[in-house]
Subunit: 123 residues, 2 copies
Amino acid sequence: MDLRISDAELEVMEALWGAGHPLTAAEAADRIGAERGWSLATVKTMLSRLAAKGAVKHREDGRRFLYSPAIKREAYVGNESRRFVERLFGGRLSPLVARLAEEDGLDDEDIAAIEALLKELKS
Amino acid sequence: MDLRISDAELEVMEALWGAGHPLTAAEAADRIGAERGWSLATVKTMLSRLAAKGAVKHREDGRRFLYSPAIKREAYVGNESRRFVERLFGGRLSPLVARLAEEDGLDDEDIAAIEALLKELKS
DNA sequence: TCGAATCGCTTACAGCTGTAATCGAAAGGG
DNA sequence: CCCTTTCGATTACAGCTGTAAGCGATTCGA
């Protein structure tokens, strides 16, 4: 369950996660094309690669495929987060918070949300 | 100032940051070799690539080079952190905290450290 | 002085990434 | 029935990554 997904592939995963229902390649491309300006061919390549590595699955619908995520966004994101914090901060989150705070990467709303989370955790 | 450094290259950067003084290729390899089991040749390749992309600089010392970081760890780490939070959490840190909390990625000590940081921030 | 060790540089090579074009098969429109 | 569109699959190709080996030059030890 330790899938590596590249930046471009992630874009496609986000489209699938965001749709909430299976998509054809063309539909996925529509959802992405605007932002990224990719050709349909590129989206198809991404879908093939994602299918090959088990990140999406597809069901046949006549001659085409309906693609849906094979992994949950939370699972993927949790994995990547742990990996990231491990790689740069020795597995501790606090130095990451410190670094972002020091560079003004946090606004008041975000800070309040984190405090609320932590308070919740301790109860 | 938007350097991409690969995993293997980062290992070498950590050795240089950790040393606190310039290192020869052989010294860097010594500091890394144990963990990673790389050959000297591999470390040399990493140093060349890092030099080519401006992440390390080198001074000649007779026939060899003394390598030192050309960027500060905090700067690099801050950049990567912002990029990461942007990529997966829309630029907000709180959902990352939530995710890690939900998977037991936080221990009490880490939580306390974060709370202290945030309290500091508001003063 | 002469061979061994060491230096940085160049080359190697497979796998991953970004970004498609092309192809043969099938389906759908007229 | 044929032409165009559309599908997934295959192929392309350069740049990055991980992991070195080899090379010519230099230096160092005997």
